[in-house]
């Protein structure tokens, strides 16, 4: 896992605040109900911070954010350099 992915995992663990839940790079988050849609806003913002990219929501489906690995792949695919 890259340091950025690790930071994201840490962020998600703090966000879901469920004792005993572990999050790996491939843990389903949205489809498993660990994360709700309002929280996707925060994840998208965090992902922008970690990747230094601008990620337009219009190009991102919730399924693209389902795991930490998919988030970073999505950022690579649709992210744009910050102006």
């Amino acid at each position: 896992m890259t340091p950025e992915a690790q930071q994201m995992v840490q962020y998600i663990v703090e966000m879901i605040r469920k004792p005993g839940v572990t999050v790996e790079e491939n843990t389903p988050l949205v489809s498993s109900g660990l994360i709700d849609s309002m929280a996707l806003v925060d994840l998208l913002t965090k992902l922008e911070d970690l990747t230094h990219l601008r990620i337009p929501a219009g190009k991102v489906q919730p399924k693209d954010m389902d795991t930490v690995a998919k988030m970073f792949a999505t950022a690579q695919r649709v992210g744009k350099p910050r102006k």
């Binding site: 309002m38 219009g58 991102v60 399924k63």
Partner: protein
């Protein structure tokens, strides 16, 4: 200008080359159609529908993602004299079982001739689209709109013909279909054009609201269609995932008008990193209209304080009282004036005990405040009625009854519901409010009102106090009344989510603190405060706490509260 007698004639008169809908994906990707292109695509949709046997008066259900094709299909159906209705498109936020339930009920009631879906519509949902014997399922993708001009002559449509059915907002799947005529919709738009002081060469609209709700459908689709204004349209889902795009779109597209529900006025500033605010400019905004009941002064203030530095005018934040049953707006605050809507401060005891507004100086102890929803639109009439139905004077709180030239014909196929809702030409809104100085103030929903020992308590007021405790997750609070047969009155119960699960260990302490702040703020006692872990409260499709579903969940988990049953 000649008054058009139906919506299609009004659209036909638009300047051909003026941009109509811009569908915004992001700063580098968007699709714009002019009025002429929109018309041509709508005609093709009309032809497809006609080839599939749809004719005048028949219902067409449209279940498509927010976008230009959904809109051209809607207009295409109207061109045939058919009666379209948008229904919510399934998305990951909606529980599939709940969505299916809602869809089956609504489609059965409409007895649609055609149900139009897009190519991506999930197959597992199809079984729950209740198709009548004669209904056809059509997949009308954007591909069908390509190609040359179709020869298509719209039929005659009279003002008293039904234009479409819009569904009242609801989270239960038992949404009611509000049937509206061309005439009523056109009258509403004529009034809006006047009170919003619309200038058809300089105004433009920004919209992320779903088209199956009145704010999206009337204010952001029918109004610009008839007044020939450009609209920048975004998917509600994209907006929820990136509320910052509100700032981006106003900055780039310089839209002048938008409508938002109350929670969005907090959501946008809270979910946009503060270090990015300065990149944006909101000076183009002429009116950003809060269409909730009630309008919360604190939410408007939060938005204004956040963005005044980037050009948001003092007068830009406005309010309106609107509902699907009246096509849309009943009142509108004064746009382009010196400030936003009026705020009145009143004695809290008089308000709760005597249901009366006694104005007091601003922010003194024990006062309550209300934000005006503005003055009546022309042709509209509001009466405030007591529980016994007697008309109340200015300054007294009662149910808001609406009548006028925009009122709906009834709930489609539901004479039982219509009879209860419209009595002697007045629509009983179920909202509580009062009139003062010629303006309407909306206080809350009648069914949410708690009557505690003869005093009227509004759950929102309790929720605001409970939610301000630092251990409570802001906005995740529901207050409700539960009848106590021993006392012969309702008692207040509150359920709230703690910010961190560990806080539950300190429940007793937190409860005590909350209890004393409610008592000192409102002068009433809360019987029990249930503290729950994060994500316990049930949320509606809009992401807001769902009052009745949460109540059911609480009563299920705590059967000791069920004395009322």
């Amino acid at each position: 200008m000649i008054r058009p007698n139906n919506l299609i004639v009004a659209l036909d008169a638009a300047p051909a080359n003026r941009p109509f809908i811009t569908y915004w994906v992001d700063e580098d990707e968007r699709e714009t159609v002019t009025f002429a292109e929109f018309l041509s695509r709508a005609r093709r949709q009309a032809s497809v529908l006609r080839e599939n046997g749809v004719s005048a008066g028949e219902r067409v259900v449209i279940i498509m993602p927010q976008g230009i094709s959904a809109m051209t299909t809607f207009v295409g159906a109207m061109m045939l004299g058919a009666v379209p209705a948008f229904l919510a498109y399934p998305n990951f936020k909606v529980e599939p079982s709940k969505y299916r339930f809602g869809l089956a009920g609504v489609t059965a009631n409409l007895r649609a001739k055609a149900v139009v879906i897009d190519d991506e519509f999930p197959d597992e949902m199809l079984g729950h689209v209740a198709l009548g014997e004669e209904a056809k399922l059509l997949r009308v993708g954007a591909g069908r709109e390509a190609g040359g001009e179709t020869a298509f002559e719209p039929g005659e449509i009279a003002p008293e013909n039904l234009a479409f059915i819009q569904h009242s907002a609801g989270t239960t799947g038992l949404q009611k279909g509000v049937a509206l005529t061309h005439g009523a919709v056109l009258r509403q738009i004529e009034h809006l054009r006047g009170v919003l002081k619309i200038n058809d060469s300089t105004d433009s609209i920004y919209n992320w609201l779903p088209l199956y709700h009145d704010m999206g459908l009337i204010a952001c689709f029918m109004l610009p269609m008839v007044c020939h204004l450009p609209v920048v349209m975004q998917s509600p889902l994209d907006w929820v995932m990136q509320p910052e795009s509100t700032l981006q779109i106003f900055t780039e597209c310089k839209c002048t008008l938008a409508w938002m529900p109350n929670f969005a006025f907090q959501f946008v500033p809270r979910r946009t990193p503060q270090n990015r605010w300065a990149q944006y400019n909101l000076s183009s905004v002429r009116a950003l209209i809060n269409c909730s009941e009630p309008v919360r002064a604190s939410s408007m203030q939060e938005f204004h304080e956040a963005f005044a530095a980037i050009g948001l005018k003092n007068s830009a934040l406005q309010s309106s009282y609107a509902m699907a049953e009246n096509v849309f707006a009943v009142t509108q605050s004064e746009v382009d004036g010196p400030s936003g809507p009026a705020v009145v401060w009143a004695d809290g005891q008089e308000f709760r005990g005597a249901h009366r507004i006694v104005p007091v100086p601003e922010r003194t102890a024990g006062t309550v405040s209300f934000t005006s929803s503005g003055r009546l639109l022309p042709g509209q009439l509001v009466r405030i009625a007591s529980n016994s139905g007697a008309a109340l004077d200015d300054g007294f709180v009662g149910e808001i009854l609406v009548s006028g030239d925009c009122l709906f014909e009834g709930y489609y196929n539901r004479p039982d519901l219509t009879q209860k809702a419209i009595i002697d030409g007045c629509y009983y809104t179920g909202d509580l409010g009062f009139c003062l100085n010629g303006e309407l103030f909306v206080v809350g929903r009648k069914k949410d009102l708690l009557i505690i020992g003869g005093e009227n308590i509004y759950p929102q007021d309790i929720e605001e106090i409970v939610g301000s405790h630092p251990a409570i997750h802001d906005g995740r609070v529901i207050a409700m009344g539960v009848y106590n047969p021993n006392l012969g009155t309702e008692e207040i119960i509150a359920v709230a989510e703690v910010e961190h699960e560990e806080d539950l260990a300190k429940s007793r302490e937190i409860e005590g603190e909350i209890r004393s702040s409610v008592t000192s703020g409102l002068g009433v006692a809360v019987r029990t405060i249930f503290l729950k872990p994060p994500k316990w409260i049930v949320k509606s499709t809009a992401g807001k706490p769902a009052r009745s579903t949460t109540r059911e969940k609480l009563l299920r988990e705590h059967p000791e509260l069920n004395a009322e049953n």
